[in-house]
């Protein structure tokens, strides 16, 4: 067991974890933060994307012990009193159907907009290449990210 100290969505946690425990399992099974889903086991789908010190990571490809000393933001901690502009935009543009990829898609988009506050559609598509959605055909996801960018989400 390894001792870790992680801040998740503004709350500090101290735990002893197996060195092999994946961050996503730590979030889901240890902390009960089930807002972050798991879609694959090879880091291809991006459903489990969270922010680690403000950078998007696929939490199935990070060990809980690697998160020691970091600050993690999940979909559950993104809203700040009101929904984040991306959450609003995903709703407004119907950028989700089943919603399973949505937490990862939104968190990957926050990182995308942080790096590029006014992306072109092409840049949005390239930037979200690591996040798969099977429902929407991505059309409305691109529109939602564009809308959030226009609302200043990346500023």
């Amino acid at each position: 067991m390894t001792h870790i100290n992680v801040t998740v969505d503004g709350v500090s946690y101290v735990d002893d974890v197996e060195p092999r425990l994946l961050l996503v399992h730590y979030l889901r099974d240890v902390l009960g933060k089930t807002g972050t889903p798991i879609g694959c086991d090879t880091s291809n789908c991006g459903a489990c994307t969270v922010l680690m010190d403000s950078v998007s990571v696929k939490s199935c490809s990070v060990l809980a012990v690697q998160a020691d000393g970091t600050e993690i933001t999940t979909i559950e901690g993104l809203a700040n009193g009101e929904w984040h502009p991306l959450q609003k935009a995903f709703n407004a543009e119907h950028a989700l159907q089943c919603g399973y990829c949505t937490p990862g898609m939104i968190l990957a988009s926050t990182d995308l907009l942080k790096d590029n506050p006014s992306p072109t559609d092409e840049e949005i598509r390239e930037g979200l290449e690591g996040n798969l959605c099977r429902c929407t055909g991505y059309e409305n996801i691109v529109r939602a990210v564009r809308r959030a960018a226009q609302a200043g989400a990346g500023q």
Partner: protein, 794 residues
């Protein structure tokens, strides 16, 4: 009492954002894998590494001894209880339906088939202990190619042999005369590759017994059908079973199933007296979630020199995989109705042979039979056009059912209620810039451009809204096709809508609220839609086959009617008028000729609850139940046009523009409809360009991950231009199904575009998925054969 409000604006057609989204964009929802119950244990399955083998022994004792392991079982441990997974669609009287135990006991027939299960305190411990299970196998020959599986001496998947059934559709017209008298006959073989549905949420299941009652949470599309199947086939009294489908992360047919893992979760939980959970990994799921398509299609079309179609012959080989699952054999049969598509012809014949292989069973995947049919007919229409030297759209127009001819009974016996192929095609051509693109194509061909432009056409229709119970019965389908709804007017005037349709991304909570808001004249916000739990929504047939709106939505309308009927009597008493004099305007009743005397439905609800002054014999309830069973399928149609650029040096295909004009009748919510169309097109493009489940020569699945099985990303797909024409369907809402239309339409549009681009270079087909390598090889083969401008090369 007086009318207090104007009737609210119509909800039908309004682009409402979804009620579902609040819990989904914030991470608050309940996926099955999120569930934690006190004392819950975790299951992990040991799966066959062989495509075909006899099991000579299974020893789970070492696994049972691992710390944290509560139990370990082989198939033999459940031999008396596990029965056989059901097939509900025996398409012929002499179909072979082999026994399909949830855990194999004597023989394994595909890689991934469950052989043993470990139950442990957590998922890591359960997975670790699998390595301690000792299974001895005696390998047998795999059966992997349906084209040779029926040969003499071929190894047998089952003792009965490799043929499951041969289905012959009643031949319509004089097929021999149609072909012998035709000026032109074109015959082609097409391959529908094996696909993996790839819903983003992996399957997950939790089973928990309390006394004699079991609750099963499952990431399923079909909680009601599943409950029935567990009761009917696994000996658990129906009244003791509750099935809950919480939010479900996509299905596309893959969760229209009664799975081994669901059954075993129930049996293991009962055996141990503890709740158990199982969640698959993606790699496990790619091997063991039922696959889709996998057919070889031989199609022949006969036509006069002027393009008039005389006849159509279809002969299919369909890969069933190792067993028949819930609707495995019926999937290609659904296609039987759709090969004639929108075209008139004199004769039609169809035959399908269902064949066993040592691969994962196939079953429903978005479109189920209709994408295959649409692909083959739309591909061969292009080939026929080339043969005739005719513009492909002109050939289609010459043969399609004219708008004035509806309702029209096709050669396959379906009666299409409405359609306007002229309007959809005209609109699509306009949005696409068809003539300009044709001109550019000619120019690039003339220049010998290394990047060619192709235009792909798909003037599709389909049959959906699965439904009519009598028709399904005549096709030997094991269940009806009705749908149920109930409405509860609450005392405060709010409304609960219970639907038997089980949404998993389709937005029922929003769309049904819009329907009820219009019917009852109550605010959209005052309506809550409940679904997906057999205790909350006790009756239903669930969600598949683009049936939710055309069947389930109509049941909701019927339930509203009954509420209004009940309310009318009470409203009349409230304003001291005769029920016969009451006039209903959504939201309120008034006295005919005296609109000032009026009462709102919400006031009636409160008065009903109080029940102080109800007329004699009137029960204090504004609740209602309704079941709807339509008399016909739903026939959406449309014209999809795809412009593809093909780099002849690399084989790379780039979709430059994609236009979809769909006619799905009246639209309840255009946001949701566009979303369904977008996602449907994307899945069809996935089949055309990227996706294929690949088994090696030993029967190992090579595409077990999303790195190997290429579900397209945003960077792989184009933007879509969508629009609609509207021929209202023959139901009260005028609606048609939309869930599968995009997938059905888009695959042939894309492949037609690729072949159209390369035809001047001698290519006349590219096998899906049209990867750069396959396109490049098709070009090399054509060049080697001495291409000619008519595209006559193989």
């Amino acid at each position: 009492m007086t009318a207090t409000a104007e009737s609210p604006a119509a909800e039908l057609g309004r682009a409402r954002t979804r009620k579902e989204d609040a819990r989904l964009v914030t991470g608050q929802t309940t996926w099955t894998d999120n569930l934690v119950l006190p004392g819950m244990l975790h299951m992990a399955f040991l799966r066959s590494p062989y495509a075909h083998a006899k099991i000579t022994s299974v020893d789970v004792s070492a696994a049972r001894d691992q710390p944290g392991v509560v139990a370990a079982f082989s198939g033999a441990d459940f031999a008396d209880e596990q029965g056989s997974l059901p097939c509900a669609w025996p398409v012929t009287p002499d179909i072979i339906i082999p026994a399909h135990p949830p855990m194999a006991t004597e023989e394994v027939r595909y890689v991934g088939e469950a052989v043993a299960v470990v139950v442990a305190r957590d998922r890591y411990t359960a997975a670790d202990a699998l390595a301690s299970i000792d299974v001895s196998y005696e390998p047998l020959e795999p059966v992997l190619d349906i084209r040779t599986a029926l040969d003499d001496g071929a190894p047998k998947v089952h003792e009965t042999g490799n043929k499951s059934y041969e289905f012959v559709f009643p031949t319509a017209g004089d097929i021999d005369a149609a072909f012998s008298g035709a000026a032109v006959v074109v015959e082609r073989d097409y391959r529908q590759q094996r696909l993996i549905p790839s819903a983003m949420e992996p399957r997950a299941v939790v089973a928990s017994w309390i006394g004699d009652d079991v609750t099963l949470w499952s990431a399923t599309q079909i909680p009601h059908v599943l409950r029935f199947a567990i009761a009917a086939f696994f000996g658990i009294p129906e009244q003791s079973i509750r099935v809950i489908a919480p939010d479900v992360g996509g299905g596309f047919g893959s969760k229209l199933q009664v799975t081994a893992e669901e059954v075993l979760a129930i049996l293991v939980s009962r055996r141990l007296g503890k709740p158990v959970k199982w969640t698959e990994s993606r790699s496990e799921g790619n091997m063991t979630v039922h696959h889709g398509r996998d057919q070889w299609q031989r199609i022949a079309i006969a036509a006069d020199r002027d393009g008039r179609i005389r006849g159509l012959k279809v002969d299919l080989l369909a890969d069933m995989g190792a067993y028949l699952m819930l609707v495995t054999p019926g999937v290609p049969i659904l296609g039987a109705f759709m090969y004639p598509a929108i075209y008139k012809m004199d004769a039609y014949s169809f035959r399908c042979t269902g064949i066993f292989t040592t691969k994962m069973p196939t079953d429903a995947y978005r479109g189920a039979g209709r994408p295959e049919a649409t692909f083959a007919i739309e591909r061969i229409m292009d080939e026929l056009a080339v043969e005739l030297g005719m513009e492909p759209l002109e050939l289609r127009e010459r043969n399609w059912i004219k708008h004035a001819e509806f309702p029209y009974t096709t050669i396959a016996g379906l009666t299409y209620d409405s359609g306007n192929y002229e309007a959809a095609t005209a609109r699509a051509k306009e949005l696409f810039g068809y003539d300009a693109l044709r001109a550019e194509q000619a120019d690039r061909n003339a220049r010998g451009d290394t990047v060619r432009l192709g235009i792909g056409i798909s003037t599709y229709t389909e049959m959906c809204g699965l439904a009519p119970s009598r028709v399904l019965g005549s096709l030997s389908y094991g269940a009806g096709g009705w749908e149920h709804a109930s409405i509860r007017m609450l005392p405060t005037g709010k409304v609960e809508v219970v639907t038997g349709s089980s949404a998993h991304g389709q937005g029922h909570e929003t769309a049904w609220s819009q329907i009820v808001a219009d019917q009852l004249g109550v605010p959209f916000e005052d309506i809550r839609v409940l679904h997906g739990d057999t205790q909350v929504a006790p009756k239903g047939m669930d969600t598949y086959g683009s049936r939710s709106l055309t069947v389930g939505g109509m049941a909701v309308v019927g339930a509203c009617d009954k509420v209004i009927e009940k309310a009318k009597v009470i409203a009349a008493a409230m304003i001291e008028a005769s029920p016969d004099d009451m006039e209903w305007t959504p939201g309120h009743f008034s006295v005919r000729g005296d609109p000032e005397k009026s009462v709102a439905i919400q006031e009636v609800a409160l008065a009903t609850f109080a029940a102080h002054n109800l007329p004699d014999g009137v029960e204090p309830s504004l609740d209602s139940d309704a079941t709807y069973d339509p008399e016909n399928f739903s026939f959406p149609h449309g014209t999809h046009l795809c412009a593809a650029e093909v780099d002849t040096e690399t084989g790379m295909v780039t979709i430059r523009s994609y236009v979809a004009v769909d006619d799905i009748g009246k639209v309840v919510n255009p946001l949701i409809v566009d979303g369904q169309v977008h996602g449907g097109i994307a899945q069809g493009i996935g089949q055309a360009l990227y996706e294929e489940a690949v088994y090696d020569d030993a029967g190992n699945l090579l595409t077990t991950t999303l790195a190997d099985y290429l579900v397209p990303s945003a960077a792989d797909l184009p933007s879509y231009i969508t629009d609609r024409t509207e021929s209202p369907a023959d139901n009260r809402l005028g609606v048609k199904g939309v869930g599968e239309a995009g997938t059905i339409a888009s695959t042939p549009a894309v492949v037609n575009a690729i072949v159209d681009a390369l035809r001047p270079l001698g290519v006349r087909d590219v096998t899906m998925p049209c990867t750069p390598e396959r396109v490049w090889r098709a070009l090399q083969t054509a060049a080697g054969n001495g291409a000619d401008s008519k595209g006559g090369a193989a």
